[in-house]
């Protein structure tokens, strides 16, 4: 209910809208309704939008997850899931959208992230813009509801999708053998190195899986670490995207790390990395990917330990 208050939906009764408009407005058959976005701005929509441009991959995925993929008329160049999106015109990136291409597509709604500066420009050009910034598990649920409200999809449908996702995350957690519980994991998001802290989206998934993140919540979502910290923590499993994995084992002092020595490395492909880092409806798939790798790596080592006697 808190979420409903935050999104601030206020559906006006058609009659009341008519009354407020008085002589100026043409009476509309559909109910006008309002949505409050992540800027706190109220966006009024006369009717459920049918031509939608999404400029953030996780928002594109959310629209499609709600079964409304057919309403998309354009996406940013990084929206690559589901595969059907490849047929849509690409309108630049989330940070550098092609304003002209968006306007030319005559959308009645633009979904965009808060870090894009284009929102104001698009609004000034007369487009309806809803700004959404999913960062956490709770945000995924909230954004699902807000997108549903915006598109005129029953909120119950968003809640149903969420329950499905949430159950799948729990199932992924339960698929982990008891021996894998409490495995100490380091997830590197970037070779600087930046790690995924407990308060990040990735960290929340790790917590749900019941494994231990070596980066506590006090470090914030994506701390830039002293590499020595990872060596001292000596995690059981290291998770990293293929792009950032190159050269990791050659870092000074990292060869002796338990995870590297015993090859307990989860190196995720580019497509898998997209799933892992996007706070969107594929978070259950992300949880499955992580759980699958942890189970595989810890089982292999367990078996080796049993064969070789005490380690």
């Amino acid at each position: 209910m808190n979420i409903a208050r935050r999104t601030g939906l206020r559906i006006r009764q058609g009659l009341r809208a008519l009354g407020l408009c008085g002589l100026v407005c043409v009476p509309v058959a559909a109910q006008a309704y309002e949505v409050v976005d992540d800027r706190g701005r109220t966006v009024t929509l006369a009717a459920p939008p049918q031509r939608v441009v999404s400029l953030l991959p996780s928002l594109s995925e959310t629209v499609c997850e709600l079964g409304q993929c057919h309403r998309l008329v354009g996406v940013d160049r990084y929206s690559n899931h589901p595969a059907a999106l490849a047929k849509l015109p690409q309108m630049g990136g989330g940070l550098d959208p092609s304003v002209e291409a968006v306007v030319a597509a005559r959308p009645d709604l633009v979904l965009i992230s808060a870090s894009a500066r284009a929102a104001d420009r698009l609004e000034a050009l007369g487009l309806k813009v809803v700004v959404l910034e999913p960062k956490t598990h709770a945000d995924v649920r909230r954004v699902l509801r807000t997108v549903a409200l915006t598109l005129g999809v029953p909120v119950a449908e968003a809640d149903r999708v969420w329950r499905h996702i949430d159950a799948a995350v729990s199932a992924a957690a339960q698929s982990l053998p008891a021996s894998a519980q409490g495995t100490r994991v380091y997830f590197e998001v970037n070779r600087a190195p930046y790690g995924a802290g407990a308060s990040s989206f990735i960290g929340e998934t790790l917590t749900r899986l019941g494994v231990k993140n070596i980066l506590g919540p006090e470090l914030g979502p994506f701390p830039k670490l002293n590499p020595e910290f990872v060596v001292r923590a000596n995690p059981d499993v290291i998770m990293v995207g293929a792009r950032n994995f190159a050269g990791m084992t050659d870092r000074p002092g990292w060869k002796g790390l338990r995870a590297i020595r015993d090859n307990r490395l989860c190196v995720f492909s580019l497509d898998e990395s997209d799933v892992l880092v996007r706070p969107g409806p594929r978070m259950a798939e992300a949880a499955r990917l992580m759980a699958g790798c942890i189970a595989g790596k810890t089982a292999a080592v367990g078996a080796a330990a049993r064969q070789g006697g005490a380690v």
Partner: protein, 353 residues
């Protein structure tokens, strides 16, 4: 070193004192650097015992913890600390050479486009990694270090080509600036096309000594010593140039050949430092100014002292970067700018007052 005249030379004496102070500071900071890590500042005794373990192997009862502590001190902190000094020393030397060569107090090691060349090299390598399996093989072997070095050297060669050699100082400066801007724009383009590398690029551009190992220390030391030797040997041309191009020529110095040698020192020292640590701003610009504010002396001493000063500055910045927010790290480039720039501003303020 001292002038042939019998009376005491105050410049030379001050330079000697400054040199000794800088060597002492470097030693002190290096010891401190061994003790500062992801757990904050550790007692020196603990560090020394860890170092002992690293050399002779952990004593029987010490176990895994001691082995890890030994490894951290020996494999991570020691090369990192030495590497910070060496990278700073390379940049300080390059800065002093650049300012003398271009007779411009604003000159810095990155003036000939090496910084943007290195950035483009790293951006290209990062965006290729993981995208094309063909590229991965050799890019990984050469590594980002190789990409940065190749980029830096190619950029300097391009600058020299555009300037048609080193004879014309103004032309060389202009060519360096133009090459820098063009290559910088290309790096931005590459970054824009593969935004996954954005954070990695940012950390390269702010510089870090986090992954400097013994191999990198060896390379930097191997480049630093000959560069310093060449710089010192040819420093007379910088003394001559400080009196003006015509005067330098009238002194009978083989200006062309010496210039080529000094540009090579500049490019090699900068390229090596950038390849190992990323773009660490301001050390090369500030170090010669800090030395000049303390002592007026010949270019031979200025080069040596600037190199030491650069090393000390980066060592200090790196130790703080590790220690202030442990286990998180500040970008070391931010600290060099704050430390070096802050001190420089204070000096200027005092002089005006």
């Amino acid at each position: 070193m001292a002038t042939a005249a019998g009376r005491p030379d105050t410049g030379a004496r001050r330079a000697m004192w400054l040199g000794m102070a800088l060597v002492l500071a470097a030693c002190g900071l290096a010891l401190l650097g061994l003790a500062v890590g992801s757990t904050g500042v550790e007692p020196v005794s603990q560090v020394l015992s860890a170092l002992g373990d690293a050399v002779v192997g952990p004593r029987g009862d010490a176990g895994a913890d001691a082995a890890i502590s030994a490894q951290i001190v020996w494999d991570i902190r020691a090369p990192r600390t030495l590497g910070a000094f060496l990278a700073g020393a390379l940049l300080g030397l390059a800065g002093a050479v650049a300012q003398g060569l271009f007779r411009n107090p604003l000159a810095d090691p990155f003036l000939l486009g090496s910084a943007s060349g290195a950035t483009l090299g790293v951006a290209a390598a990062l965006s290729l990694l993981g995208v094309s399996p063909m590229a991965t093989g050799w890019v990984v072997r050469a590594g980002l270090t190789g990409a940065a070095f190749v980029g830096a050297v190619l950029a300097v060669l391009l600058t020299l080509l555009l300037a048609k050699g080193v004879q014309h100082t103004l032309r060389l400066l202009l060519a360096g600036v133009v090459v820098g801007v063009v290559l910088g724009a290309l790096s931005s383009l590459v970054t824009l096309l593969s935004p996954d590398i954005l954070q990695a690029m940012q950390s390269f551009m702010l510089g870090s000594t986090g992954f400097v190992g013994w191999a990198a220390v060896g390379i930097m030391a191997g480049v630093w010593l000959p560069c310093l030797a060449v710089g010192l040997a040819f420093s007379r041309v910088l003394d001559g140039l400080s009196l003006g191009e015509a005067t330098a020529a009238s002194l009978g110095l083989p200006l062309g050949a010496l210039r080529v040698a000094l540009v090579a020192v500049l490019a090699l020292a900068t390229g090596t430092a950038v390849a190992q640590t990323g773009l660490i701003a301001f050390v090369g610009l500030a170090a010669p100014h800090l030395v000049r504010s303390a002592v007026k002396t010949t270019h031979a001493r200025l080069l040596a002292l600037s190199s030491l000063m650069g090393g000390v500055l980066l060592l200090l910045a790196d130790t703080l970067a590790r220690g202030v927010m442990a286990p998180q790290e500040l970008p070391v480039g931010v600290l060099t700018a704050v430390l070096g720039g802050g001190y420089l501003l204070w000096l200027m303020h005092r002089r005006v007052g």
